[in-house]
């Protein structure tokens, strides 16, 4: 019952939130709802066994699709990430004002329902439903509350992902007619064996959908614009959680369904990922806008995760699992800082910032920790994940690992550059009257910093949590 609650709570509260006229009421209600969801998720993950975390009910008997939910280690980890992120996002952006805030928070909660559904679904058609359900509210969020160019940019994002999902739908249908018992259940899908040519074709139908979502070079062009133009609270969801949908889907669906094709095309995909990493990093260096910088840096980080998945070894996979969580935490921290700077000073450009460390020392310290985590410095959480992933990549192919390694140096260049330009130097006209960030944002950033350091020193719980998925994936091959 717990997984159903995880979807139902945000879904129903989200629908209620639409009708709340008071901005305060909507905010408070959304925060309350996300805290309840978090409590349910924590209770479910730490106190219940696997049997109680599964759910199965009839849905479309004629089509062979059931409303089946399941939770393995990876699912738990991503549900944890989602349910932790939402209260943090709501609390950190509590002071922001949105017109029609009832609809804003309602759509945010619907997105959460969709995301949790994606991570829990154990039925291909249900998975597809949630995959789309997570997309539609985000489309409206970005298009209504976004920046100047929001309509065109979000539309591009929507069309890209929609093409991807439709291709995936064709793939799902094809596999459905190849299951022995004509069912969409994930277990029936796992039993399918296709011949080489078919497997390769369907593999690409799925992979393009996931690659657009992640995004992997050359399917990434929607991403920087969409991140920049969206309201920052939505950007946090998109880059913190939504991109994990792509990575999650590769591990949950792609690798087990197409064992041969995913080895056959591993080289190509890893090379594309590495190109994306270097390309993202190089462009990030040239950016003059905090949001765009984080967007491009995100491409680089996701590229590494995708490459590590296709190394097909245990250590790389463990790294991906840890890093999925860590990247979510770190990037949300960076977005919170970006948002607070934009809200307070009205600009995100480095050229118009400087000397903030003198004006807001607490924020400066917290931003530096977040920035160091973005570079993956030892003692921060990202170090563990990236180390494991590079290790896996090194075992797979030394030269690829070496090429990918350049991105670590580039990450230091652009991140430290940002820190310098924003925090240090002399104050300029815009930052002259800057003040310290408010208490709720400080608190949320401190929470994130504690997570960064704790998981950086002691990552074992995360490895243990996702161990079963890693083992299951590697056994399947």
């Amino acid at each position: 019952m717990v997984p159903v609650l995880l979807i139902l709570i945000p879904l129903l509260t989200g629908l209620v939130t639409f009708f709340l006229k008071e901005a305060k009421a909507a905010k408070g209600f959304a925060l309350l709802s996300s805290v309840i969801t978090l409590a349910v998720a924590l209770a479910g993950i730490f106190f219940l066994d696997a049997k109680e975390l599964a759910f199965d009910a009839a849905w479309l008997p004629d089509l062979g699709s059931r409303f089946t939910l399941m939770t393995d280690g990876m699912g738990k980890m991503l549900c944890l990430l989602t349910t932790v992120s939402f209260p943090i996002i709501f609390a950190a952006t509590y002071n922001n004002e949105y017109k029609n805030s009832g609809s804003f928070y309602g759509l945010m909660l619907l997105t959460q329902a969709g995301l949790l559904g994606v991570f829990l679904a154990a039925d291909a058609l249900l998975f597809y439903f949630f995959w789309e359900l997570a997309l539609i509210p985000v489309y409206f969020l970005c298009s209504i509350w976004g920046g100047e160019k929001r309509i065109a940019v979000t539309f591009k994002f929507f069309i890209y992902t929609f093409i991807g999902s439709l291709l995936m739908l064709v793939g799902i249908l094809f596999l459905y007619f190849h299951t022995a018992d004509h069912s969409f259940a994930i277990q029936s899908f796992y039993k399918i064996s296709l011949d080489g040519k078919q497997e390769a074709f369907i593999f690409w139908l799925f992979f393009i959908a996931f690659a657009i979502k992640m995004p992997i070079f050359p399917f990434h062009t929607w991403q920087p614009d969409a991140y920049e133009q969206s309201p920052t609270a939505t950007t946090m969801i998109m880059s913190g959680i939504m991109v994990k949908m792509g990575i999650f889907a590769v591990i949950r669906w792609l690798l087990p369904l197409f064992p041969h094709a995913s080895v056959q095309f591993a080289d190509l995909i890893i090379i594309l990922s590495i190109i994306g990493m270097l390309y993202g990093s190089l462009i990030a260096i040239r950016q003059d806008d905090i949001k765009r910088l984080i967007a491009y840096s995100s491409i680089a980080h996701i590229g590494l995760m995708c490459a590590a998945i296709f190394t097909h070894n245990k250590i790389g996979m463990e790294g991906v699992m840890i890093q999925m969580f860590n990247h979510g935490v770190n990037v949300i921290g960076l977005w919170i800082v970006a948002d607070v700077i934009e809200q307070k000073l009205g600009t995100r450009k480095f050229s118009e910032l400087g000397g903030l460390a003198q004006k807001a020392p607490v924020m400066a310290i917290l931003l530096v920790v977040m920035a160091l985590a973005n570079i993956a410095l030892p003692l921060t959480n990202a170090f563990i994940g990236e180390f494991l992933m590079f290790n896996g990549l090194f075992q797979y192919n030394m030269w690829m690992a070496a090429a990918a390694g350049i991105s670590v140096i580039l990450a230091a260049v652009y991140t430290l550059n940002m820190v310098q330009k924003v925090l240090y130097g002399n104050t300029v006209a815009t930052t002259e009257n800057a003040t310290e960030i408010s208490g709720n944002i400080q608190l949320m950033l401190i929470v994130l910093v504690i997570v960064v350091i704790v998981l950086g020193v002691y990552p074992q719980p995360m490895i243990d949590l996702t161990k079963d998925t890693v083992t299951a994936i590697l056994v399947k091959r």
Partner: protein
């Protein structure tokens, strides 16, 4: 049989009701009551409770598929009359006549869903089309409406001519009008049955004329002009119920005849499907008027419905019923809002969400359904079409092409959503009553319900 007889009788009743009932809105009530009666008569027939028996000498074949389609068509018409009755009243003076014509169209529709011979096919098509020619020209003082009517009439007669030619050739070859009359199944020895040239030529002519009726490319040229010129309220009717009926006839005709054309049939059809999708979708992208966009979108949707013909299996037959229902409901919904708008261009919708949130919400659900987004009826409609082709096997490339065009369709459907929600503007509408809002909301809820539990509709039909 019930539907055919009752709808014809009701048509006559409607004509004379104009003499007795003078008030326009009372005539709408009479029509709605008539439709309800027709619906009940058809349901009684399909559940086998009470049927009028007439010996039709094998000219009709009443089966569940056809009767279920009647149910969909009549229900959709009822919803259409309830939502857009006001607009029908405002079109002209002869309201009772318009309703009478609509009943006659429904008579043609019910013939097309149960015909069992080329002669009845021809009669059904004509009974359905002739009232439409008149309805298209209902706005007598409007030049565009007159032009559309004449164009529709000329092109329609032309295609009927082609159809008659085809029927004649087949009759000449086989000596009867029956469906699949002379077809002998291929013998175990593997010898394919031989068909005469006359039969093949006849089938091709029939195919062309049916393509014309359902506005499949390259025989679609009349559609945008006629749909654009006709009064919007009748375009709504033509683009939904009538078009779906055309497809039902198409499928019933060709499910027994495909082997005449042999393997080239699939190639021919694939060409028509891709051309239809291409022309419908790409041209719709460039439209400035929502009404014209919907005309092209109806061509694009026809491309999807043709998949039912292509795969020709049980999933396709279920799917075409669901598609007809989903497509008709969504299109009727959008048109009912469009009629209320003062400006039919995309810009005319700017800021509608602020002025009329209920209308904007319902229109959004309808548009999402047309685009085939999950959680709406349109998703399962498209799902069934694609699934039937995948099940038939061997044409995965066609499915991939189709979904790419489905993505294109998102572009023009979402332009309306963008105008309503994201753009600033003063969308003006004529007066909106509370009843209209309620009806539209119920329609949106129905679309979502079918989108979550499509079995609800299908099980109802396959009790």
């Amino acid at each position: 049989m019930n539907a055919i007889i009752v709808s014809a009788l009701l048509g006559v009743v409607m004509m004379f009701s104009g003499i007795i009932v003078k008030s326009k809105s009372a005539q709408s009530v009479v029509a709605a009551a008539g439709l309800l009666l027709l619906l009940i008569a058809n349901l009684l027939n399909s559940y086998g409770v009470c049927t009028i028996h007439i010996n039709t000498h094998e000219m009709f074949h009443f089966e569940k598929f056809g009767m279920f389609f009647n149910t969909i068509a009549i229900t959709a018409t009822l919803i259409y009359v309830l939502l857009s009755g006001k607009a029908i009243e405002n079109t002209g003076v002869n309201v009772a006549d318009y309703y009478a014509l609509i009943f006659f169209v429904l008579c043609g529709v019910s013939i097309l869903s149960s015909f069992n011979g080329l002669l009845m096919l021809f009669l059904g098509i004509e009974i359905m089309s002739i009232p439409l020619y008149i309805l298209t020209g209902a706005d007598k003082r409007n030049l565009k409406s007159n032009e559309a009517s004449l164009k529709y009439f000329l092109m329609g007669s032309f295609s009927t001519g082609i159809m008659l030619m085809g029927i004649t050739l087949i009759y000449g070859a086989t000596g009867n009008f029956a469906l699949g009359g002379s077809v002998t199944p291929p013998s175990a020895g593997g010898l394919a049955p031989q068909f005469s040239f006359l039969e093949i030529a006849g089938m091709i002519l029939l195919f062309v004329s049916m393509c014309f009726k359902v506005s499949a490319a390259p025989f679609h040229f009349w559609t945008p002009d006629v749909y654009d010129g006709a009064p919007a309220v009748f375009t709504s009717f033509m683009a939904t119920i009538v078009k779906a009926a055309g497809f039902i006839a198409f499928i019933r005709l060709f499910e027994s005849h495909t082997n005449i054309l042999g393997p080239s049939w699939k190639i021919l059809l694939a060409f028509v499907i891709i051309a239809t999708l291409l022309i419908g979708n790409i041209t719709a992208v460039f439209q400035q008027s929502v009404k014209r966009m919907l005309a092209y979108s109806s061509i694009a949707q026809a491309g999807f419905m043709l998949f039912a013909l292509y795969s020709a299996n049980d999933l396709a037959k279920e799917g075409i019923l669901l598609y007809s229902a989903a497509y008709s409901l969504a299109t009727i919904g959008i048109f009912s809002v469009l009629i209320k708008m003062n400006d039919y261009t995309f810009d005319g919708f700017n800021g509608l969400a602020k002025a009329q949130p209920v209308l904007a919400f319902a229109t959004t659900i309808c548009l999402l359904s047309l685009a085939g987004i999950p959680l709406t009826a349109g998703f399962f409609a498209k799902y069934y079409m694609l699934a039937s082709v995948v099940k038939a096997g061997g044409s995965l490339w066609l499915v991939v092409v189709a979904v790419l065009f489905a993505a294109v369709s998102v572009y023009y459907y979402f332009r309306v959503i963008q105008a309503m929600y994201f753009k600033e503007g003063e969308a003006t509408t004529s007066e909106i009553t509370g009843g209209f809002k309620t009806g539209l909301t119920l329609l949106a809820v129905l679309i979502i319900l079918i989108g979550i539990f499509p079995g609800m509709v299908l099980n109802f039909f396959y009790f």
